[in-house]
């Protein structure tokens, strides 16, 4: 028998509300707003309150999907990344760096977002980068 609340940050938008994930016997069962989080002070929106629901959702993707002639097909990370690299190189050579854009995510860490913009600007050579949390 085990119940605890794990404090963390809401994975959705860029506000960064403090949430507590309720864990009962090792299973994620609920989300509560953290009263002591300075950003949201015990309040949340409907997305934040539903955080625990997607974690164990059967609809959640477990493998990369590659769009081919027959639609989306499950593949390995190796094959998916190989495809991304070869297509990015083709497009870069044929149309130039400003033909490519990147969209970073609020679900990533600051460091990961930093790396993506560095890759975008230094490796690809464009300023076409934006972020899903532009609220």
């Amino acid at each position: 028998m085990n119940y605890r609340i794990i404090p963390t940050i809401c994975p959705y938008c860029g506000c960064g509300c403090g949430i507590g994930l309720e864990v009962l016997d090792g299973r994620l069962v609920g989300t509560l707003p953290l009263k002591t989080a300075p950003v949201n002070e015990g309040k949340l929106c409907i997305k934040g309150y539903s955080t625990h629901e997607f974690v164990t959702s059967p609809y959640r993707l477990t493998q990369p999907l590659l769009r081919g002639k027959e639609g989306l097909v499950e593949t390995t990370w190796e094959a998916a990344l190989d495809h991304v690299v070869s297509r990015l190189q083709e497009i870069l050579t044929q149309y130039g760096p400003d033909s490519i854009a990147f969209l970073a995510s609020a679900k990533c860490t600051n460091e990961e977002n930093y790396l993506l913009q560095k890759f975008c600007r230094a490796a690809i050579g464009t300023n076409n980068i934006d972020h899903c949390a532009r609220l």
Binding site: N2, Y3, R4, L24, K43
Partner: protein, 270 residues
């Protein structure tokens, strides 16, 4: 070691409880935590003095006892938690033999720090607390005071309040007496989906379900991102029930008028 820690320690050693739901610090936040007799050393981190942020402990207790119906749990309970427990017991959601209450004195006094309860006022000179009055949240409370306005203006005033609702379900999610397995607020036939603010039925369904059931803890109002004076709203339902049935929620032993309908016997909530 303070008295509550000592008491829990003794209850564990004598086998009177199989777990204790209280608060401890986790990652810089004071949070509900289930202490276990297997980890007695953790009791040193049990926080039993105010200020402790309020979380809906009775609701968490129901969650745990549904998974472990045979275990008797101890609960660190404020006055509002104790009122919630009484209502949940009356509705057969908690077995009174499986709960042991360790009261947390949350009454503000010169001897202790005031709590973070949104609603406690200082006791008067004779030691009693004055009757509750509506709390202001970014609004002039006079404007929502029921007696001030006539019926039509009052309805208009409440509609203005509910127009701020972002339908986060926070009022329901943090409600210590909300333990339903299915919720009318998610019933598309009762509450039309896809609109913000939600249809007035959202608030009316909740008010109806809470009339004579709401234990006036104010957690809903604290959780409302839109600052709707929900406590005042639900208190209106309680006043109607008190007028009709002479019943005030939260008292031990006193049967709820809704208890006699047999709903509680079936273990289901309206």
């Amino acid at each position: 070691m303070n008295s509550i820690r000592e008491a829990v320690h003794a209850l564990f050693l004598t086998g009177k409880i199989g777990g204790f739901l209280g608060y401890r610090e986790i990652g810089g936040h004071l949070l509900p935590y289930l202490f276990s007799p297997e980890d007695l050393h953790e009791l040193a981190s049990l926080i039993s003095h105010d200020p402790i942020p309020r979380y809906p402990l009775p609701k968490i207790l129901v969650e745990i006892t549904r998974a472990h119906p045979g275990v008797r749990l101890g609960l660190l309970a404020r006055e509002c938690d104790q009122r919630a427990l009484q209502e949940l017991i009356k509705r057969n959601q908690i077995n009174p033999e499986k709960v042991l209450i360790l009261p947390l004195a949350c009454c503000p006094s010169d001897l202790g720090e005031p709590t973070q309860c949104s609603y406690l006022c200082s006791p008067t000179s004779n030691g009693n607390r004055p009757p509750f009055s509506p709390r202001e949240i970014g609004q002039d409370p006079v404007r929502v005071e029921p007696d001030v306005l006539n019926l039509e203006d009052r309805f208009q005033r409440w509609k203005e309040e509910f127009a701020k609702c972002i339908k986060c379900y926070g009022c329901r999610n943090v409600c210590p007496v909300y333990v339903c397995k299915e919720c009318s607020l998610e019933d598309e036939d009762l509450i039309p989906t896809g609109q913000i603010p939600p249809d007035l039925s959202f608030h009316l369904v909740r008010a109806t379900h809470l009339a004579g059931f709401c234990i006036d803890c104010g957690l809903c109002e604290e959780a409302c991102p839109a600052g709707i004076p929900l406590r005042l709203f639900y208190r209106g339902g309680n006043q109607i029930v008190e007028k009709l049935f002479g019943y005030k929620p939260g008292k031990e032993g006193e049967p709820s008028p809704f208890h006699r309908t047999g709903l509680a016997e079936k273990g289901s909530l309206p």
